[in-house]
């Protein structure tokens, strides 16, 4: 009994905010902000805060996608590639094909949803492990993006789309606004709807989910479709910001997305997750990256830092459980 108790013991969390948020991650975020404010005179300002939100928006949205999938004890390694594929499809639809600008939005979301639905179908119906399916999609979607563009970015998007990436109404970057809106909506979906609840229950105890009448396979397909659609939205924002559909956009972003979710307290083995937690996790990485930039640290080191943070976050979680067990 003692071991099973320990296995489900929640680490230090703030409950009431609609799920488990790791207190540690909030502390880490605060320490980072305080530390960087001291280390760099440029860090603590409203405009830099907006820069951080802007830089975090794309990986943050991918992080929310990962949160839902990992909540259900799955994994989506393809979000970075699906981002690139969606960015390219979006740019081609309005650039090469010449459709009106709303189709840039529609095609990005549909391209993402399409990839996600294929992931979901292969996982839920063909019963291929999620790790393999989405690793395959990582390759296929990236390859498709390169094939569609011959490896060259598709430059030039309609003005309304460019505004989505570069606009600053009242000084606030549009991607930051989209990011916060997506955070609010996905937070409500995960913490307060049956869709979110069932994702968590499937990740917690799949047999219980089936026994109580939850349609597990259908739900899985929907979860991966959601993940793909959010990756499509992230692709749209990415393309809009750089005013082009770049086939290499989002390379290795899955690493950052998964790290954000895990840092935010999502249980890697399913059953516990929170969007607000992932928001904090993504901000930790956004702040870290911004601070290292301000301190003129090479971006190569940043990638190393992110990888190390992912392993560290999971390790801390294990230590936490080990302590609870003894």
């Amino acid at each position: 009994m003692a071991t099973t108790l320990a296995a489900t013991r929640t680490p230090l969390t703030i409950r009431g905010l609609g799920g488990a948020i790791r207190l540690e991650s909030l502390i880490v975020l605060v320490i980072l902000i305080v530390g960087l404010s001291i280390a760099s005179p440029y860090f603590l300002s409203l405009s830099n805060a907006f820069n951080i939100l802007l830089a975090t928006s794309v990986i943050g949205i991918l992080g929310f996608a990962s949160t839902f999938v990992i909540a259900a004890a799955g994994i989506d390694l393809s979000v970075g590639s699906v981002l690139g594929f969606s960015a390219v499809v979006s740019a081609i639809s309005v650039n090469a094909i010449g459709l009106p600008w709303p189709f840039a939005i529609l095609s990005a979301l549909l391209a993402g949803a399409f990839c996600g639905a294929i992931n979901g179908l292969l996982i839920a119906r063909a019963r291929i492990p999620a790790f393999i399916v989405t690793l395959g999609m990582l390759g296929v979607a990236r390859g498709a993006a390169l094939v569609l563009t011959n490896g060259q970015p598709v430059y030039g998007l309609p003005a309304p789309i460019v505004w989505l990436g570069q606009g600053r109404p009242l000084g606030v970057p549009v991607p930051a606004i989209v990011f916060i809106l997506v955070a609010l909506v996905t937070h409500v979906v995960l913490s307060s709807t049956t869709f979110g609840k069932y994702a968590l229950v499937i990740g917690d105890n799949e047999a219980a989910a089936r026994a109580t009448g939850i349609r597990v396979d259908r739900h899985r397909i929907l979860l991966y479709t959601l993940s793909g659609t959010l990756a499509g939205l992230a692709g749209l924002l990415f393309a809009a910001r750089v005013n082009s559909g770049d086939p290499t956009a989002g390379t290795s972003y899955e690493l950052t997305a998964i790290t954000a979710a895990i840092l935010g307290g999502t249980n890697l083995f399913g059953g516990r997750a929170s969007v607000i937690g992932t928001l904090i996790g993504a901000l930790i990485m956004g702040v870290l990256q911004n601070g290292l930039n301000l301190l003129a640290v090479s971006s190569f080191y940043q990638q190393m830092a992110i990888g190390a943070v992912l392993v560290l976050a999971v390790w801390l979680d294990q230590i936490n459980r080990g302590r609870a067990r003894s």
Partner: protein
């Protein structure tokens, strides 16, 4: 006609025939013990009734309706609840969420259908009170409760939606003596209310204490179907092991 009628129910997994023509019935307000050695097909049979397994052939009728092709959710909605041996609880969810799992009442807020959490907590609390279960709070995560408390949550889930038939898989296997009495009292109470019970148990004393009838399975077939009043523990054991 009985509440539950199984006629020549068969279930195969590939070349393996787990159920080889099972026929028996359960009346309303009747407690039937389903006995059999490990591998006799008890679990498969129950999972076929609850819709987790799809039957290969035969018919299952419940309250006048054919259950063929219906999923676990639809069968629960018709009034068959099962309390699983492993309890089938989500350990990282709280007590109230587990009791309402798969049947969450919702309300609309700004056009979004959200789970009515206050109502779930209120009704879960009332159910726990009615069962006299000692669960500290319906907001506790189920994984932090003791085995007996988890059992109470599983029972509360099965009884909250006025079932007509409750299937219990080894409900007393992991319990202390006093908790066993509690479960047996519960079976008597269900019978009194006209609710049928199928009890799967290895503990023959429990079976003889509360059940009206015994159905024994061996190698996927019914080998005995006897009234408790007309049989004995020795006879039942003989049926189970196939000595008679």
């Amino acid at each position: 006609m009985s509440l539950l009628d199984l006629v020549d129910v068969r279930k195969s997994f590939g070349p393996v025939e787990a159920l080889r023509g099972v026929t028996f019935s359960v009346d309303a307000g009747e407690a039937v013990a389903l006995l059999g050695d490990n591998g006799a097909g008890k679990s498969t049979l129950m999972k076929t009734i609850t819709g987790i397994h799809r039957l290969t052939s035969g018919t299952i009728r419940f309250a006048g309706a054919d259950l063929a092709g219906q999923g676990p959710g639809e069968i629960r909605a018709r009034g068959i609840e099962m309390i699983y041996q492993d309890l089938a609880l989500a350990r990282q969810q709280d007590v109230a969420s587990n009791i309402f799992l798969g049947r969450e009442p919702t309300r609309r807020v700004f056009g979004i259908s959200v789970i009515d959490k206050p109502r779930i907590e209120r009704e879960a609390e009332a159910m726990i009170q009615r069962l006299g279960a000692r669960v500290p709070s319906v907001r506790y995560l189920v994984g932090n409760l003791s085995g007996g408390q988890q059992q109470s949550v599983a029972i509360a889930r099965a009884l909250t939606f006025s079932p007509k038939l409750v299937i219990m898989d080894e409900p007393t296997a992991a319990l202390a003596v006093r908790e066993v009495e509690h479960v047996l009292d519960l079976v008597r109470e269900l019978k009194r209310q006209g609710i049928a019970v199928i009890l799967i148990s290895h503990r023959l004393t429990d079976v003889f204490a509360v059940c009206d009838r015994v159905v024994a399975l061996r190698q996927g077939q019914v080998v005995a179907d006897e009234a408790i009043a007309e049989t004995s523990m020795n006879a039942v054991v003989a049926h189970i092991v196939g000595a008679a």
